[in-house]
Amino acid sequence: MILAVDPASHVPPYEQVRAQVQGLVDAGGLAPGTRLPTVRRLADDLGLAANTVARAYRELEQSGVVVTRGRHGTFVAVRGVDREREAAVAAQQYVRRLRELEVDVDAALKHVRAAFGG
């Protein structure tokens, strides 16, 4: 999981960082939930200004690739196929519990709609 930045490239440094993180996430090299280095640390390592890395992270966050959880840091977001898989696991856990409670499908759907606020 190596990021490389070439200051002599015609591609702006923030775009190099953004594109490489996006590429690693898309290729599965960075799994959902993986914590990324802090802006300051990555900027220090790559010899960039903190604002440059912050801009790359901001654009990644706006496109849903990463999420920032306050002081805990920046993490690779759960999205796309991963989101579907996580939803399926959560549904199976929910259904298992409902079977223990002997709740039928109609009642379960009613509870789900209510939980969604509709």
């Binding site: 190596i2 990324l36 280095p37 390592d45």
Partner: protein, 307 residues
């Protein structure tokens, strides 16, 4: 061992290490030997830089270690603590290890803060942890030894307090040091590791980053060695001092049996940690964790791998 012999031994060890890195050719040779040991490629282009960095770290470590070890031996020799048997000797060696770790940490700090020429840079997109550099058996070994050290001291206090076994007058200060000292050493190791891992890593290629990891792993392992040695040293000294005050032998004096039993248990745990540590090839641990097969850049840094 008499303190002058300790001083001579430490000076000889330090001189030997320094002599093996006295010339650029020797430094390159040592760097290649290290590269083979950790299975890390050493390219001709990086050879001099890596050899210099390795030698700087080793020499700074051994010089600081020798200085602290000799200073400790001299101070203890003048203060007349030879009555404690081997304790001053081991304390001098412990000071040597501590100095080595401090010297290595100093070089690590210097290297992470030195200015570098502009140019392409690489960085890791993930956040490495202490566990990536130091094997679990060494980190948990240090903690286990610290707990064992405290248990030995507390056990002696409880046994003495209940009157079941006569242990004579327990040295209060030494008991306190045996309980608190190792725990503080482990805590200091963890804090030092957190500080070092938080420092920047400057590299222009994956191979340079891998070598930085290698140096970092070496420094962190020096640090955990100090914690392990301190955790082993304190209870051994306590048992030695308490044992020296006992008269007669086992089974006439149950106290002798208790002290000997505790000594053997400690020795077994220490040997167990040592053997387990050697078995996992700790010097290659960071390679397995951070540069394992399949990791991007791993083939590029391995000896004989694709370039």
């Amino acid at each position: 061992m008499e303190q002058p012999f300790v001083v001579a031994f430490i000076v000889l060890v330090a001189a030997g290490v320094l002599a093996r890195r006295a010339t650029p050719a020797l430094r390159r040779s040592a760097a290649h030997a290290h590269a083979r040991r950790i299975d890390l490629r050493l390219e001709p282009a990086d050879e001099d830089a890596v050899a210099t960095r390795l030698a700087r770290r080793t020499c700074a470590g051994v010089l600081a270690g020798a200085a602290l070890g000799v200073l400790t031996a001299v101070v203890l020799g003048r203060s007349g603590v030879e009555d404690f048997g081997w304790s001053p000797t081991w304390l001098s060696f412990l000071a040597f290890f501590l100095g080595t770790a401090l010297g290595s940490a100093g070089v690590a700090w210097y290297e992470s803060s030195r200015p570098l020429a502009a140019g392409p840079r690489v960085a890791r997109a993930t956040v490495p942890s202490h566990a990536d550099y130091v094997p679990r058996v060494e980190r948990w070994g240090a903690r286990a030894m610290a707990v064992l050290s405290a248990l030995v001291a507390l056990g002696l206090v409880v046994l003495d307090g209940t009157g079941l076994v006569e242990l004579g007058d327990l040295p209060g200060a030494l008991v306190a040091v045996t309980i608190v000292g190792p725990a503080l050493a482990v805590l200091a190791d963890e804090l030092a590791a957190r500080w070092l891992i938080g420092r920047r890593q400057v590299a222009a290629s994956p191979l340079a980053l891998a070598w930085d990891d290698a140096l970092r792993a070496g420094t962190l392992r020096d640090s955990v060695t100090v914690a392990i040695c301190a955790s082993a040293f304190a209870p051994f000294v306590l048992l030695g001092v308490v044992g020296d005050g006992l008269e007669g032998g086992w089974p006439a004096n149950p106290g002798v049996g208790v002290i000997t039993g505790a000594f053997l248990v400690l020795l077994l745990v220490l040997v167990g940690v040592g053997i387990a540590s050697l078995a996992v090839q700790p010097e290659k641990h960071f390679r397995r964790r951070l540069w394992s097969v399949g990791t991007p850049g791993a083939a590029e840094v391995a000896i004989g791998g694709a370039r």
